[in-house]
Protein backbone atom coordinates (compact mmCIF):
# COMPACT_ATOMS: atom_id res chain seq x y z
CA UNK A 1 0.00 0.00 0.00
CA UNK A 2 1.35 3.40 -0.90
CA UNK A 3 0.55 6.89 0.27
CA UNK A 4 1.22 10.53 -0.54
CA UNK A 5 2.71 12.78 2.12
CA UNK A 6 0.91 16.11 2.63
CA UNK A 7 2.77 18.80 4.58
CA UNK A 8 2.15 22.50 5.14
CA UNK A 9 4.62 24.61 7.12
CA UNK A 10 4.08 27.59 9.38
CA UNK A 11 7.26 29.58 9.68
CA UNK A 12 7.83 32.33 12.23
CA UNK A 13 10.64 34.75 11.47
CA UNK A 14 11.87 37.58 13.66
CA UNK A 15 12.19 40.75 11.65
CA UNK A 16 15.44 42.73 11.69
CA UNK A 17 14.27 45.84 13.48
CA UNK A 18 16.20 47.67 16.16
CA UNK A 19 13.19 48.11 18.41
CA UNK A 20 10.17 45.99 19.27
CA UNK A 21 6.95 46.04 17.26
CA UNK A 22 4.90 48.22 19.59
CA UNK A 23 7.46 49.94 21.83
CA UNK A 24 11.02 51.30 21.81
CA UNK A 25 12.67 48.42 23.71
CA UNK A 26 15.65 46.84 21.99
CA UNK A 27 15.20 43.53 20.13
CA UNK A 28 18.78 42.45 20.80
CA UNK A 29 19.25 38.76 21.67
CA UNK A 30 20.28 39.00 25.30
CA UNK A 31 19.67 35.76 27.18
CA UNK A 32 22.35 36.44 29.81
CA UNK A 33 20.57 39.54 31.05
CA UNK A 34 16.89 38.68 31.47
CA UNK A 35 14.23 41.37 31.70
CA UNK A 36 16.42 44.35 30.86
CA UNK A 37 14.60 45.10 27.56
CA UNK A 38 11.08 45.71 28.82
CA UNK A 39 8.77 48.65 29.38
CA UNK A 40 5.13 49.17 30.37
CA UNK A 41 3.98 48.34 26.81
CA UNK A 42 5.68 44.95 26.42
CA UNK A 43 5.09 44.09 30.08
CA UNK A 44 1.39 44.63 29.42
CA UNK A 45 0.99 47.13 32.26
CA UNK A 46 -2.41 48.81 32.49
CA UNK A 47 -2.71 52.15 30.72
CA UNK A 48 0.13 51.57 28.26
CA UNK A 49 -0.58 51.89 24.55
CA UNK A 50 1.13 50.10 21.63
CA UNK A 51 2.25 52.03 18.54
CA UNK A 52 3.19 50.17 15.36
CA UNK A 53 6.86 50.14 14.28
CA UNK A 54 6.91 51.44 10.69
CA UNK A 55 9.99 49.45 9.76
CA UNK A 56 8.42 46.18 10.97
CA UNK A 57 5.45 46.79 8.69
CA UNK A 58 7.66 47.72 5.73
CA UNK A 59 9.85 44.63 6.15
CA UNK A 60 6.67 42.55 6.24
CA UNK A 61 5.42 44.12 3.01
CA UNK A 62 8.79 43.55 1.39
CA UNK A 63 8.72 39.86 2.32
CA UNK A 64 5.13 39.29 1.24
CA UNK A 65 5.73 40.98 -2.12
CA UNK A 66 8.79 38.81 -2.66
CA UNK A 67 6.59 35.79 -1.94
CA UNK A 68 4.27 36.96 -4.73
CA UNK A 69 1.46 37.68 -2.26
CA UNK A 70 -1.53 39.92 -2.78
CA UNK A 71 -1.20 42.90 -0.45
CA UNK A 72 -4.43 43.85 1.27
CA UNK A 73 -5.29 47.52 0.82
CA UNK A 74 -6.68 47.51 4.36
CA UNK A 75 -5.41 45.55 7.34
CA UNK A 76 -5.90 45.49 11.11
CA UNK A 77 -4.66 43.75 14.25
CA UNK A 78 -6.56 41.46 16.59
CA UNK A 79 -6.16 40.07 20.07
CA UNK A 80 -5.59 36.34 20.33
CA UNK A 81 -6.38 35.39 23.90
CA UNK A 82 -4.73 32.62 25.83
CA UNK A 83 -2.99 32.21 29.14
CA UNK A 84 0.66 31.36 29.35
CA UNK A 85 3.33 32.84 31.63
CA UNK A 86 5.41 34.18 28.73
CA UNK A 87 2.45 36.25 27.49
CA UNK A 88 2.10 39.11 29.96
CA UNK A 89 -1.02 40.75 28.53
CA UNK A 90 -3.04 37.53 28.46
CA UNK A 91 -3.37 38.01 24.70
CA UNK A 92 -1.06 38.19 21.70
CA UNK A 93 -1.51 40.98 19.19
CA UNK A 94 -1.80 39.17 15.87
CA UNK A 95 -3.84 39.29 12.68
CA UNK A 96 -6.96 37.21 12.25
CA UNK A 97 -9.42 37.81 9.44
CA UNK A 98 -7.71 40.67 7.59
CA UNK A 99 -4.00 39.80 7.33
CA UNK A 100 -1.89 42.26 5.35
CA UNK A 101 -1.06 39.68 2.69
CA UNK A 102 -2.58 36.61 1.05
CA UNK A 103 -2.17 34.06 -1.66
CA UNK A 104 1.43 33.96 -2.85
CA UNK A 105 3.98 31.33 -3.77
CA UNK A 106 7.66 30.47 -3.56
CA UNK A 107 9.52 28.63 -6.32
CA UNK A 108 11.70 26.01 -4.68
CA UNK A 109 14.50 24.22 -6.46
CA UNK A 110 13.84 20.73 -5.15
CA UNK A 111 16.82 19.31 -7.02
CA UNK A 112 19.61 21.88 -7.39
CA UNK A 113 21.70 19.64 -9.65
CA UNK A 114 18.87 19.15 -12.12
CA UNK A 115 17.38 22.58 -11.56
CA UNK A 116 13.87 21.14 -11.14
CA UNK A 117 11.53 23.42 -9.21
CA UNK A 118 8.26 23.14 -7.35
CA UNK A 119 5.90 26.02 -6.74
CA UNK A 120 4.84 26.06 -3.08
CA UNK A 121 1.73 28.11 -2.39
CA UNK A 122 1.66 30.65 0.43
CA UNK A 123 -1.73 30.97 2.10
CA UNK A 124 -0.89 34.14 3.98
CA UNK A 125 1.76 36.09 5.82
CA UNK A 126 0.81 38.15 8.83
CA UNK A 127 2.58 40.36 11.35
CA UNK A 128 2.37 39.70 15.08
CA UNK A 129 4.33 40.03 18.31
CA UNK A 130 6.55 37.38 19.84
CA UNK A 131 6.09 36.08 23.38
CA UNK A 132 8.74 35.96 26.09
CA UNK A 133 10.73 32.91 27.04
CA UNK A 134 10.02 30.40 29.79
CA UNK A 135 12.89 28.57 31.42
CA UNK A 136 12.17 25.45 33.34
CA UNK A 137 14.13 24.24 36.28
CA UNK A 138 16.49 21.57 34.98
CA UNK A 139 17.28 20.14 38.41
CA UNK A 140 13.90 18.47 38.55
CA UNK A 141 13.06 19.41 42.14
CA UNK A 142 12.45 23.12 41.70
CA UNK A 143 8.94 24.39 42.03
CA UNK A 144 9.06 27.55 39.93
CA UNK A 145 9.61 28.34 36.26
CA UNK A 146 11.52 31.45 35.21
CA UNK A 147 10.22 33.98 32.72
CA UNK A 148 12.36 36.36 30.65
CA UNK A 149 10.37 38.99 28.75
CA UNK A 150 13.26 40.48 26.72
CA UNK A 151 11.84 38.81 23.61
CA UNK A 152 8.20 39.72 24.32
CA UNK A 153 7.04 42.12 21.61
CA UNK A 154 9.72 41.30 19.03
CA UNK A 155 8.14 41.63 15.57
CA UNK A 156 7.34 38.25 14.11
CA UNK A 157 6.23 37.42 10.61
CA UNK A 158 4.21 34.23 10.29
CA UNK A 159 4.36 32.68 6.83
CA UNK A 160 1.84 29.90 6.24
CA UNK A 161 2.35 27.60 3.27
CA UNK A 162 -0.27 25.59 1.42
CA UNK A 163 -0.08 21.84 2.09
CA UNK A 164 2.00 21.57 -1.09
CA UNK A 165 5.06 19.78 0.28
CA UNK A 166 5.38 16.08 -0.44
CA UNK A 167 8.35 14.86 1.59
CA UNK A 168 10.60 15.71 4.51
CA UNK A 169 13.40 16.56 2.07
CA UNK A 170 11.13 18.96 0.16
CA UNK A 171 10.23 20.69 3.40
CA UNK A 172 13.90 21.20 4.13
CA UNK A 173 14.49 22.63 0.64
CA UNK A 174 11.50 24.97 1.04
CA UNK A 175 12.89 26.24 4.34
CA UNK A 176 16.37 26.68 2.87
CA UNK A 177 14.98 28.66 -0.05
CA UNK A 178 12.79 30.75 2.24
CA UNK A 179 15.71 31.48 4.55
CA UNK A 180 17.88 32.43 1.60
CA UNK A 181 15.21 34.81 0.30
CA UNK A 182 14.73 36.40 3.72
CA UNK A 183 18.46 36.94 4.18
CA UNK A 184 18.82 38.30 0.61
CA UNK A 185 16.05 40.76 1.39
CA UNK A 186 17.69 41.62 4.71
CA UNK A 187 14.38 41.25 6.54
CA UNK A 188 15.65 38.67 9.02
CA UNK A 189 18.96 37.14 10.03
CA UNK A 190 17.18 33.77 10.29
CA UNK A 191 19.54 32.76 13.05
CA UNK A 192 17.95 29.52 14.23
CA UNK A 193 20.21 29.14 17.26
CA UNK A 194 18.83 32.44 18.53
CA UNK A 195 15.26 31.50 17.62
CA UNK A 196 14.94 34.00 14.77
CA UNK A 197 13.34 31.31 12.59
CA UNK A 198 11.00 28.68 14.01
CA UNK A 199 8.72 26.24 12.33
CA UNK A 200 5.55 24.22 12.91
CA UNK A 201 4.64 21.41 10.51
CA UNK A 202 1.13 20.16 9.69
CA UNK A 203 1.33 16.69 8.28
CA UNK A 204 -0.94 13.86 7.21
CA UNK A 205 -1.04 11.11 4.59
CA UNK A 206 -3.33 10.30 1.71
CA UNK A 207 -3.38 6.51 1.70
CA UNK A 208 -4.04 5.08 -1.76
CA UNK A 209 -6.72 2.40 -1.93
CA UNK A 210 -6.95 -0.39 -4.50
CA UNK A 211 -10.14 1.18 -5.86
CA UNK A 212 -8.22 4.36 -6.70
CA UNK A 213 -9.57 6.33 -3.75
CA UNK A 214 -7.40 8.18 -1.25
CA UNK A 215 -8.09 8.07 2.47
CA UNK A 216 -6.67 11.04 4.44
CA UNK A 217 -5.26 10.30 7.90
CA UNK A 218 -5.80 12.69 10.84
CA UNK A 219 -3.69 15.85 10.70
CA UNK A 220 -0.90 16.22 13.24
CA UNK A 221 0.84 19.49 14.04
CA UNK A 222 4.48 19.19 15.11
CA UNK A 223 5.31 22.26 17.14
CA UNK A 224 8.40 24.37 17.69
CA UNK A 225 10.97 22.88 15.36
CA UNK A 226 14.11 24.95 15.76
CA UNK A 227 16.44 23.53 13.11
CA UNK A 228 16.07 22.37 9.52
CA UNK A 229 17.55 19.06 10.53
CA UNK A 230 14.85 18.62 13.17
CA UNK A 231 12.16 19.51 10.65
CA UNK A 232 13.44 16.80 8.34
CA UNK A 233 13.97 14.17 11.05
CA UNK A 234 10.67 14.80 12.83
CA UNK A 235 8.73 14.59 9.57
CA UNK A 236 10.43 11.38 8.55
CA UNK A 237 9.53 9.92 11.92
CA UNK A 238 5.98 11.27 11.89
CA UNK A 239 5.23 9.99 8.37
CA UNK A 240 6.23 6.50 9.40
CA UNK A 241 4.34 6.72 12.68
CA UNK A 242 1.14 7.93 11.00
CA UNK A 243 1.20 5.13 8.49
CA UNK A 244 1.67 2.53 11.22
CA UNK A 245 -1.08 4.18 13.26
CA UNK A 246 -3.38 4.07 10.26
CA UNK A 247 -2.65 0.40 9.64
CA UNK A 248 -3.38 -0.32 13.29
CA UNK A 249 -6.50 1.78 13.86
CA UNK A 250 -7.81 2.68 10.42
CA UNK A 251 -8.75 6.12 11.83
CA UNK A 252 -9.17 8.72 9.15
CA UNK A 253 -9.30 12.51 9.09
CA UNK A 254 -12.28 13.80 11.05
CA UNK A 255 -12.66 10.74 13.24
CA UNK A 256 -10.19 12.04 15.83
CA UNK A 257 -9.40 15.66 16.61
CA UNK A 258 -6.23 17.30 15.37
CA UNK A 259 -3.28 16.30 17.50
CA UNK A 260 -0.37 18.47 18.61
CA UNK A 261 2.97 16.73 18.98
CA UNK A 262 6.41 17.83 20.08
CA UNK A 263 9.79 16.65 18.82
CA UNK A 264 12.23 15.01 21.18
CA UNK A 265 15.53 15.36 19.36
CA UNK A 266 17.40 13.24 21.90
CA UNK A 267 15.06 10.27 21.47
CA UNK A 268 14.48 10.97 17.77
CA UNK A 269 10.70 10.73 18.19
CA UNK A 270 7.60 12.89 18.23
CA UNK A 271 5.44 12.76 21.35
CA UNK A 272 1.83 13.66 22.05
CA UNK A 273 1.41 16.94 23.89
CA UNK A 274 -1.29 17.52 26.44
CA UNK A 275 -4.26 18.80 24.45
CA UNK A 276 -4.97 22.32 25.65
CA UNK A 277 -8.62 22.37 26.63
CA UNK A 278 -10.60 24.91 24.66
CA UNK A 279 -7.31 25.86 23.07
CA UNK A 280 -8.96 26.60 19.78
CA UNK A 281 -11.19 29.24 21.32
CA UNK A 282 -8.91 32.25 21.14
CA UNK A 283 -11.82 34.72 21.11
CA UNK A 284 -10.17 36.98 18.55
CA UNK A 285 -11.43 40.52 18.37
CA UNK A 286 -10.00 43.72 16.83
CA UNK A 287 -7.45 45.36 19.11
CA UNK A 288 -8.93 48.73 20.04
CA UNK A 289 -5.47 50.06 21.00
CA UNK A 290 -4.21 49.90 17.41
CA UNK A 291 -5.65 51.59 14.36
CA UNK A 292 -5.90 49.90 10.94
CA UNK A 293 -3.30 50.36 8.21
CA UNK A 294 -4.08 51.14 4.60
CA UNK A 295 -1.53 50.64 1.85
CA UNK A 296 -1.47 52.62 -1.38
CA UNK A 297 -0.25 51.53 -4.81
CA UNK A 298 2.47 54.22 -4.64
CA UNK A 299 3.88 52.73 -1.46
CA UNK A 300 3.87 49.28 -3.00
CA UNK A 301 5.66 50.60 -6.09
CA UNK A 302 8.29 52.23 -3.91
CA UNK A 303 8.91 48.98 -2.02
CA UNK A 304 8.89 46.94 -5.23
CA UNK A 305 11.73 49.09 -6.55
CA UNK A 306 13.75 48.47 -3.40
CA UNK A 307 13.50 44.68 -3.56
CA UNK A 308 16.72 43.95 -5.46
CA UNK A 309 17.50 40.67 -7.13
CA UNK A 310 15.98 37.45 -5.76
CA UNK A 311 18.16 34.36 -5.32
CA UNK A 312 16.24 32.43 -7.99
CA UNK A 313 16.79 35.20 -10.56
CA UNK A 314 20.44 35.41 -9.65
CA UNK A 315 20.94 31.67 -10.17
CA UNK A 316 19.30 31.96 -13.55
CA UNK A 317 21.44 34.95 -14.48
CA UNK A 318 24.64 33.17 -13.40
CA UNK A 319 23.70 30.12 -15.47
CA UNK A 320 22.87 32.11 -18.56
CA UNK A 321 25.32 34.99 -18.25
CA UNK A 322 28.37 33.12 -16.97
CA UNK A 323 27.52 29.67 -18.37
CA UNK A 324 27.74 28.10 -14.92
CA UNK A 325 26.32 24.64 -14.25
CA UNK A 326 23.12 24.38 -12.18
CA UNK A 327 25.27 23.04 -9.41
CA UNK A 328 27.85 25.84 -9.39
CA UNK A 329 25.19 28.55 -9.67
CA UNK A 330 23.24 27.03 -6.77
CA UNK A 331 26.32 26.61 -4.58
CA UNK A 332 27.40 30.22 -5.09
CA UNK A 333 23.98 31.86 -4.79
CA UNK A 334 22.83 29.73 -1.86
CA UNK A 335 25.76 30.88 0.25
CA UNK A 336 24.11 34.30 0.46
CA UNK A 337 24.18 37.63 -1.33
CA UNK A 338 27.63 38.62 -0.10
CA UNK A 339 29.41 35.58 -1.51
CA UNK A 340 27.46 35.77 -4.76
CA UNK A 341 28.51 39.39 -5.19
CA UNK A 342 32.12 38.52 -4.38
CA UNK A 343 32.01 35.83 -7.05
CA UNK A 344 30.45 38.11 -9.60
CA UNK A 345 33.07 40.80 -9.08
CA UNK A 346 35.88 38.27 -9.50
CA UNK A 347 34.24 36.69 -12.56
CA UNK A 348 33.93 40.06 -14.29
CA UNK A 349 37.34 41.25 -13.12
CA UNK A 350 39.37 38.24 -14.27
CA UNK A 351 37.30 37.63 -17.39
CA UNK A 352 37.04 33.87 -16.79
CA UNK A 353 33.74 33.14 -15.04
CA UNK A 354 34.29 29.38 -14.95
CA UNK A 355 37.76 29.73 -13.41
CA UNK A 356 36.33 32.17 -10.85
CA UNK A 357 33.53 29.70 -10.04
CA UNK A 358 36.05 26.90 -9.49
CA UNK A 359 38.04 28.99 -7.06
CA UNK A 360 35.04 30.31 -5.17
CA UNK A 361 33.22 26.97 -4.89
CA UNK A 362 36.34 24.96 -4.08
CA UNK A 363 39.24 26.87 -2.57
CA UNK A 364 37.38 29.73 -0.94
CA UNK A 365 34.43 27.75 0.42
CA UNK A 366 36.77 25.07 1.74
CA UNK A 367 38.98 27.58 3.55
CA UNK A 368 35.95 29.48 4.86
CA UNK A 369 34.57 26.28 6.30
CA UNK A 370 37.84 25.02 7.75
CA UNK A 371 38.74 28.35 9.29
CA UNK A 372 35.18 29.28 10.22
CA UNK A 373 35.21 32.55 8.28
CA UNK A 374 32.43 34.43 6.54
CA UNK A 375 33.17 35.83 3.09
CA UNK A 376 33.21 39.26 4.68
CA UNK A 377 36.06 38.17 6.95
CA UNK A 378 37.97 36.41 4.19
CA UNK A 379 41.36 38.17 3.91
CA UNK A 380 41.81 37.69 0.16
CA UNK A 381 39.58 40.39 -1.26
CA UNK A 382 38.26 40.56 -4.81
CA UNK A 383 41.09 42.64 -6.40
CA UNK A 384 43.71 40.20 -5.09
CA UNK A 385 41.88 37.12 -6.35
CA UNK A 386 41.31 38.85 -9.69
CA UNK A 387 45.06 39.49 -9.97
CA UNK A 388 45.88 35.91 -9.03
CA UNK A 389 43.48 34.39 -11.54
CA UNK A 390 44.78 36.84 -14.13
CA UNK A 391 48.24 35.28 -13.73
CA UNK A 392 46.77 31.86 -14.54
CA UNK A 393 44.92 33.19 -17.56
CA UNK A 394 48.04 34.78 -19.02
CA UNK A 395 50.00 31.59 -18.25
CA UNK A 396 52.38 33.54 -16.03
CA UNK A 397 52.02 30.84 -13.35
CA UNK A 398 50.45 27.38 -13.16
CA UNK A 399 47.21 26.64 -11.29
CA UNK A 400 49.28 24.64 -8.85
CA UNK A 401 51.51 27.64 -8.15
CA UNK A 402 48.45 29.85 -7.83
CA UNK A 403 47.08 27.53 -5.14
CA UNK A 404 50.39 27.74 -3.30
CA UNK A 405 50.30 31.54 -3.43
CA UNK A 406 46.64 31.53 -2.42
CA UNK A 407 47.47 29.65 0.77
CA UNK A 408 50.41 31.99 1.49
CA UNK A 409 48.22 35.04 1.00
CA UNK A 410 45.55 33.57 3.23
CA UNK A 411 48.04 32.77 5.98
CA UNK A 412 49.55 36.24 5.83
CA UNK A 413 46.10 37.83 5.75
CA UNK A 414 44.99 35.90 8.80
CA UNK A 415 48.13 37.09 10.58
CA UNK A 416 46.79 40.57 10.04
CA UNK A 417 49.06 41.65 7.19
CA UNK A 418 47.41 43.79 4.53
CA UNK A 419 47.12 41.79 1.31
CA UNK A 420 47.59 43.78 -1.89
CA UNK A 421 47.73 42.42 -5.45
CA UNK A 422 51.43 43.42 -5.59
CA UNK A 423 52.16 40.79 -2.93
CA UNK A 424 51.44 38.13 -5.56
CA UNK A 425 54.35 39.34 -7.70
CA UNK A 426 56.65 39.31 -4.70
CA UNK A 427 55.67 35.73 -3.87
CA UNK A 428 56.01 34.58 -7.47
CA UNK A 429 59.50 36.04 -7.61
CA UNK A 430 60.71 34.85 -4.20
CA UNK A 431 59.42 31.33 -4.74
CA UNK A 432 60.60 31.17 -8.32
CA UNK A 433 57.16 30.22 -9.57
CA UNK A 434 57.20 32.23 -12.80
CA UNK A 435 56.59 29.94 -15.73
CA UNK A 436 59.74 29.37 -17.74
CA UNK A 437 59.27 29.91 -21.40
CA UNK A 438 62.91 29.45 -22.24
CA UNK A 439 62.65 26.47 -24.56
CA UNK A 440 66.38 26.21 -24.90
CA UNK A 441 66.84 25.87 -21.13
CA UNK A 442 64.03 23.32 -20.90
CA UNK A 443 65.43 21.37 -23.83
CA UNK A 444 68.82 21.14 -22.17
CA UNK A 445 67.38 19.93 -18.86
CA UNK A 446 65.16 17.38 -20.58
CA UNK A 447 68.10 16.00 -22.54
CA UNK A 448 70.09 15.69 -19.33
CA UNK A 449 67.31 13.90 -17.44
CA UNK A 450 66.67 11.51 -20.32
CA UNK A 451 70.40 10.60 -20.38
CA UNK A 452 70.38 9.98 -16.62
CA UNK A 453 67.35 7.66 -16.70
CA UNK A 454 67.85 4.94 -19.27
CA UNK A 455 65.48 2.55 -17.44
CA UNK A 456 62.56 4.96 -17.42
CA UNK A 457 63.23 5.67 -21.09
CA UNK A 458 63.24 1.97 -21.90
CA UNK A 459 60.04 1.45 -19.92
CA UNK A 460 58.35 4.24 -21.82
CA UNK A 461 59.49 2.88 -25.15
CA UNK A 462 58.13 -0.55 -24.24
CA UNK A 463 54.71 1.05 -23.77
CA UNK A 464 54.67 2.07 -20.13
CA UNK A 465 53.20 5.55 -20.50
CA UNK A 466 53.37 6.08 -16.74
CA UNK A 467 57.15 6.10 -16.79
CA UNK A 468 57.08 9.62 -18.13
CA UNK A 469 55.68 10.86 -14.79
CA UNK A 470 58.89 10.29 -12.89
CA UNK A 471 60.83 12.14 -15.58
CA UNK A 472 58.46 15.12 -15.45
CA UNK A 473 59.00 15.34 -11.72
CA UNK A 474 62.78 15.43 -12.13
CA UNK A 475 62.60 18.11 -14.81
CA UNK A 476 60.26 20.22 -12.68
CA UNK A 477 62.68 19.97 -9.78
CA UNK A 478 65.47 21.45 -11.87
CA UNK A 479 63.40 24.09 -13.60
CA UNK A 480 61.11 25.66 -11.03
CA UNK A 481 58.00 27.19 -12.51
CA UNK A 482 58.00 25.14 -15.68
CA UNK A 483 54.55 24.38 -17.00
CA UNK A 484 54.07 20.65 -16.38
CA UNK A 485 51.85 20.28 -19.44
CA UNK A 486 54.55 21.70 -21.59
CA UNK A 487 57.25 19.57 -19.99
CA UNK A 488 55.18 16.45 -20.57
CA UNK A 489 54.65 17.39 -24.19
CA UNK A 490 58.34 18.05 -24.79
CA UNK A 491 59.40 14.87 -22.99
CA UNK A 492 57.02 12.70 -24.98
CA UNK A 493 58.28 14.25 -28.21
CA UNK A 494 61.86 13.64 -27.20
CA UNK A 495 61.25 10.01 -26.16
CA UNK A 496 59.27 9.27 -29.28
CA UNK A 497 62.12 10.33 -31.54
Amino acid sequence: MSYTVIVGLEVHVQLLTKSKIFCGCSTEFNPDHPNVQTCPVCLGLPGSLPVMNRRAFELSLKTAMSLNCQIAPFTKWDRKQYYYPDLPKGYQISQYDLPFSLDGFLEVEVDPTEGTTRRVGIIRAHLEEDAGKNLHDETGHGTDSQVDLNRAGTPLLEIVSQPDLRSAAECKRYLEELRLLLTYLGVSDCNMAEGSLRCDANVNLHVHQPDGQDIPTPIVEIKNLNSFRNVELSLEYEIKRQFEEWQKTGKRLGEVSKETRGWDAARGATFAQRGKEEASDYRYFPDPDLVPVTVTEEELDRIRESLGEFPADRRKRFKEGYLLSNYDAAVIVDQGAELASYYEEVALGCGDAKQAANWVTQDILREMKERNLTIGQFPIRQPVLIALLGKINTKAITIKSAREIFVDLLTEGLEGKPIEPSRIDELVASKGLALVFDVVELDAVIAKIVDKNPKAVADFKSGKQAAVGALIGQVMKEVKGADPQRVRQMLVEKLSQ
Partner: protein, 99 residues
Protein backbone atom coordinates in the same frame (compact mmCIF):
# COMPACT_ATOMS: atom_id res chain seq x y z
CA UNK B 1 -34.26 37.50 16.87
CA UNK B 2 -33.11 37.24 20.46
CA UNK B 3 -30.21 34.97 21.38
CA UNK B 4 -30.82 33.03 24.55
CA UNK B 5 -27.73 33.05 26.77
CA UNK B 6 -27.48 29.80 28.67
CA UNK B 7 -25.79 28.86 31.91
CA UNK B 8 -23.42 26.67 29.88
CA UNK B 9 -22.39 29.69 27.76
CA UNK B 10 -21.49 31.64 30.89
CA UNK B 11 -19.65 28.65 32.31
CA UNK B 12 -17.57 28.37 29.15
CA UNK B 13 -16.74 32.06 29.07
CA UNK B 14 -15.80 31.92 32.75
CA UNK B 15 -13.48 28.99 32.07
CA UNK B 16 -11.82 30.80 29.16
CA UNK B 17 -11.36 33.85 31.40
CA UNK B 18 -10.08 31.66 34.25
CA UNK B 19 -12.90 32.85 36.51
CA UNK B 20 -14.26 30.62 39.23
CA UNK B 21 -17.95 31.36 39.70
CA UNK B 22 -20.20 30.06 42.44
CA UNK B 23 -23.62 28.69 41.49
CA UNK B 24 -25.25 31.89 42.67
CA UNK B 25 -22.83 33.98 40.62
CA UNK B 26 -23.35 31.80 37.59
CA UNK B 27 -27.08 32.35 37.92
CA UNK B 28 -26.68 36.11 38.39
CA UNK B 29 -24.31 36.49 35.41
CA UNK B 30 -26.51 34.42 33.13
CA UNK B 31 -29.27 36.86 33.95
CA UNK B 32 -27.27 40.12 33.75
CA UNK B 33 -25.15 39.19 30.73
CA UNK B 34 -28.34 38.02 29.02
CA UNK B 35 -29.84 41.46 29.65
CA UNK B 36 -26.80 43.19 28.13
CA UNK B 37 -26.91 41.03 25.03
CA UNK B 38 -30.62 41.61 24.72
CA UNK B 39 -30.02 45.35 24.93
CA UNK B 40 -27.29 45.31 22.28
CA UNK B 41 -29.43 43.11 20.04
CA UNK B 42 -31.82 46.00 19.58
CA UNK B 43 -29.26 47.15 17.02
CA UNK B 44 -30.47 44.31 14.82
CA UNK B 45 -33.61 46.33 14.23
CA UNK B 46 -31.60 48.95 12.33
CA UNK B 47 -31.25 48.50 8.59
CA UNK B 48 -27.48 48.46 7.93
CA UNK B 49 -27.56 47.36 4.28
CA UNK B 50 -25.71 50.44 3.05
CA UNK B 51 -23.40 50.87 6.04
CA UNK B 52 -19.70 49.97 5.77
CA UNK B 53 -18.50 47.70 8.58
CA UNK B 54 -16.55 49.68 11.16
CA UNK B 55 -13.36 48.16 12.57
CA UNK B 56 -12.42 50.96 14.91
CA UNK B 57 -14.24 53.61 16.92
CA UNK B 58 -11.59 56.19 16.05
CA UNK B 59 -11.40 57.22 12.42
CA UNK B 60 -7.65 57.09 12.22
CA UNK B 61 -5.32 54.86 10.26
CA UNK B 62 -1.60 54.41 9.65
CA UNK B 63 -0.29 55.55 13.00
CA UNK B 64 3.37 54.53 13.14
CA UNK B 65 6.47 55.17 15.16
CA UNK B 66 10.03 55.21 13.81
CA UNK B 67 12.18 52.16 14.52
CA UNK B 68 14.22 53.76 17.29
CA UNK B 69 15.41 52.18 20.50
CA UNK B 70 14.39 54.00 23.64
CA UNK B 71 15.54 53.30 27.17
CA UNK B 72 13.83 50.34 28.80
CA UNK B 73 12.77 50.15 32.42
CA UNK B 74 15.46 49.38 34.98
CA UNK B 75 15.11 45.68 35.73
CA UNK B 76 14.20 46.28 39.36
CA UNK B 77 11.25 48.40 38.19
CA UNK B 78 10.17 45.79 35.65
CA UNK B 79 10.12 43.14 38.37
CA UNK B 80 8.66 45.40 41.06
CA UNK B 81 5.08 44.16 40.64
CA UNK B 82 5.99 40.50 40.40
CA UNK B 83 4.86 38.36 43.34
CA UNK B 84 8.12 36.44 43.00
CA UNK B 85 11.37 37.03 41.19
CA UNK B 86 14.87 35.61 41.30
CA UNK B 87 18.16 36.47 39.61
CA UNK B 88 16.44 38.83 37.20
CA UNK B 89 13.66 36.44 36.22
CA UNK B 90 9.96 36.54 36.96
CA UNK B 91 9.08 33.39 38.85
CA UNK B 92 5.82 31.61 38.13
CA UNK B 93 4.41 28.34 39.44
CA UNK B 94 6.17 25.52 37.66
CA UNK B 95 4.94 25.05 34.11
CA UNK B 96 4.18 21.38 33.69
CA UNK B 97 6.47 19.61 31.32
CA UNK B 98 4.39 18.96 28.25
CA UNK B 99 5.79 15.53 27.64
Amino acid sequence: MATQLTRADVQKVALLGRLKLSDAELEAYTQSLGNIIGYVERLNEVNTDDVEPMVHAVELSNVFRADEVRPSLPRADALANAPKSERGFFLVPQILDER
